[in-house]
């Protein structure tokens, strides 16, 4: 299945929203952190993992999902959250640690929960896989529509949870799709150093499920493959594993000097930035005009600007609210 014009434009707009969101977060993150860089300072303290460059994974998959479908994401979650339709104001306020945040400031950037669109993420590698399996089991038991998608990085494929979850999903034939965003680096460790095989889609064979590898960080190709895997799951035919070649255009986290990257790698990655490529595709195939492009970009930027303003204007929670919500 190939995306129609509406779907292409949706993906393109989400990519812009996500990229601009990360660019804004990057700037704001540095407020209060110079001359001495101290992670605890500024309006956005703590670790910050930006998803610049990985937008195609989010949009190509989430284009097929509805609010009722379940997504679990990683410590690098913003692009997926945006594509899944997470409330942007609430998410931004959460990243700022504000009272109006999705979780009232208890979670922060690595623990974003939006129950309205069944989105969650967490900070431990491969940790979202079991919950995605469980959500899929819940749908199967309840005979309720919906699939679960677990996003993970290529480093997660070497975790026990990865193998246990694939086997469990396969043996129970659950409607779950595992999506590996292979950005080639586990912090500073290259995939070739950590992983015994070149592409993790091969590991699907060990569990008797379809495996797909998608090169090129191409949202159109991701859309096609993810669509087939998700349809398959919706038909009750079981799980799939997809590995996507993607690019981390930022460091592992803010403050990462990226000394481990070979010379010229970053420049080469920026030359393959998926957003200008998508724009060119729209110009070539959809009679996309400069005027239309500016309008779309402006719309996506305005949405982000409003969310950031909302977060900045929001109050911090009262400290003693920390004692609430431990139990339901």
């Amino acid at each position: 299945m190939k995306p129609n014009r509406t779907q292409k434009l949706w993906m393109y707009e989400q990519m812009h929203t996500s990229r601009y969101f990360e660019e804004c977060i990057e700037k704001i993150y540095m407020e209060g952190k110079s001359p001495a860089f101290n992670m605890a300072n500024g309006p956005i303290p703590g670790e910050m993992h930006l998803s610049n460059g990985q937008e195609p994974c989010a949009v190509g998959v989430c284009a097929h999902l509805e609010a009722g479908d379940v997504v679990t994401s990683t410590h690098r979650p913003h692009h997926v959250a945006i594509a899944k339709g997470v409330d942007l104001d609430g998410m931004t306020a959460e990243i700022f640690g504000k009272k109006t945040g999705l979780s009232g400031g208890r979670g922060g950037h690595m623990h974003i929960f939006d129950a309205d669109v069944n989105f969650s993420c967490s900070g431990i590698i491969a940790e979202g896989m079991g919950p995605a399996v469980g959500a899929a089991l819940s749908r199967q038991l309840q005979k309720k529509a919906g699939v679960a998608v677990a996003f993970l990085g290529e480093g997660a494929a070497n975790q026990g949870a990865f193998h246990e979850s694939l086997n469990l999903a396969a043996v129970w034939k659950l409607p779950v799709i595992f999506v590996i965003e292979d950005n080639a680096w586990g912090i500073s460790v290259a995939k070739s150093t950590s992983t015994a095989i070149e592409h993790n889609d091969a590991r699907a064979a060990a569990y008797g499920i379809p495996g797909h590898y998608i090169p090129g960080n191409d949202p159109l190709a991701i859309f096609e493959v993810a669509g087939e895997a998700i349809d398959r799951a919706r038909r009750g035919e079981g799980p799939s594993l997809i590995e996507i070649e993607t690019y981390r255009l930022a460091g592992h986290f803010m403050g990462d000097a990226e000394g481990y990257r070979p010379d010229g790698e970053k420049e080469a990655l920026f030359a393959r930035d998926p957003i200008p490529k998508m724009r060119q595709h729209l110009i070539d195939t959809e009679s996309w005009t400069e005027e239309q492009d500016q309008e779309l970009v402006q719309r996506s930027h305005e949405r982000v600007d409003l969310a950031i303003q909302f977060a900045r204007d929001s109050e911090y929670p009262a400290p003693e609210e920390a004692m609430e919500k431990v139990f339901a």
């Binding site: 999705l102 929960f113 399996v133």
Partner: protein, 340 residues
């Protein structure tokens, strides 16, 4: 005492299975998963009969993949189901604790209360039958220490059924710890006092409420699971020499019923805590601290009878020497008398 009430004595294993079955009959969302909990009925008997009645969809054997199925329990619970999941031996927590303490216990908080995780995690504890150090631990404090999980541990079948029903109906993760020696499985040696009358109709025992199982005036003996039975036996012996011991069964570790303990020690002025979990940094210290923080006037320094800070040894003489028992409680009382 009521007369002509027909005694219906059940083991803890049977009582747990009965509570689960009754909740499964009235709530479609409840299902059970774990290793050997299906046709086998659980290694410790607590799911016996469930597979026959409810089938393999709702009573499902899992692969030996605790990380995946603990995580799956979290995902299913967050999606509207009410999973009961078994960790066969509590000692196995090491292979899957991330899903328990980082997800199950924290997702409600991380979501600002918008996501509920109603999981019951039932797990066997305790030793005394020479199963060595990877199959004999209690680890009460390990679970009770980390916020976000309720923790219950019954000492008899009545409480087991009522606490299980309460746990299933609770909207939070509840760790349900059952002691193997109290389970009523003959092959593990059975504490007969754990087999008590259990009403057939469904009922709950409130989570977070201790029970005064025997009233007394001279010393308070606080226990959990096996420790309660050691306490009762010690109290009988102490009674023979005219010492009146009050025995408290905590039943829940989280929330902890501190009031019942404080009230009792205010009355007796003496406190002994019995816990088969490791002594240091554990439940026994927490109970003594509770009393100390309240400034309760004591007639003697409080004592604890707990497992020494060693891995649990295999050899029978070594293991039996290390375990808490009634004689150690009496010795602790004598120490208090002598130092008074």
């Amino acid at each position: 005492m009521t007369v002509a009430t027909k005694e219906r004595k059940l083991t803890i294993a049977r009582a747990m299975a009965e509570a689960i079955a009754q909740e499964m009959r009235v709530d479609e969302r409840v299902f059970v998963m774990g290793e050997d909990i299906g046709p086998l009925g659980g290694v410790f008997g607590n799911t016996r009969g469930l597979h026959d009645e409810f089938g393999s969809e709702r009573v499902r054997d899992t692969p030996i993949s605790e990380t995946a199925f603990m995580g799956a329990a979290v995902g299913a619970a967050s999606d509207g189901m009410r999973p009961i999941v078994e960790l066969m031996f509590v000692d196995f927590f090491g292979v899957c604790f991330d899903a328990i303490y980082n997800l199950m216990a924290k997702n409600t908080y991380f979501s600002g209360g918008k996501v509920q995780v109603p999981v019951v995690l039932m797990t066997s504890t305790g030793g005394g039958y020479s199963d060595a150090g990877q199959h004999s631990q209690c680890l009460h404090a390990t679970f009770a220490h980390l916020p976000g999980m309720k923790v219950v541990a019954p000492s008899n079948a009545y409480d087991a059924k009522g606490l299980m029903t309460a746990a299933i109906r609770d909207n939070n993760p509840v760790i349900f710890m059952f002691h193997k020696a109290l389970q009523g499985m003959g092959w593990l040696g059975t504490e007969k006092d754990a087999i008590v009358h259990v009403p057939e109709a469904s009922y709950t025992v409130p989570i977070g409420k201790a029970a005064v199982v025997q009233e007394g005036t001279d010393v308070t003996i606080v226990g959990i699971t096996s420790g309660v039975h050691h306490g009762i036996k010690a109290a009988r012996k102490l009674a023979e020499r005219g010492v009146s011991a009050e025995v408290i069964d905590l039943r829940s570790l989280v929330p902890l019923d501190r009031d019942t303990v404080i009230e009792s020690v205010r009355k007796t002025g003496r406190l002994i805590v019995v816990d088969e979990d490791y002594q240091s940094y554990g439940v026994s210290g927490e109970i003594i601290c509770t009393v100390a923080e309240q400034g309760v006037a004591l007639k003697a320094a409080p004592q604890r009878v707990a497992y020494p800070d060693i891995p649990i040894p295999f050899s029978r003489p070594m293991e039996q020497w290390a375990l808490p028992n009634a004689d150690k409680i009496i010795a602790a009382y004598e120490l208090m008398e002598n130092n008074a």
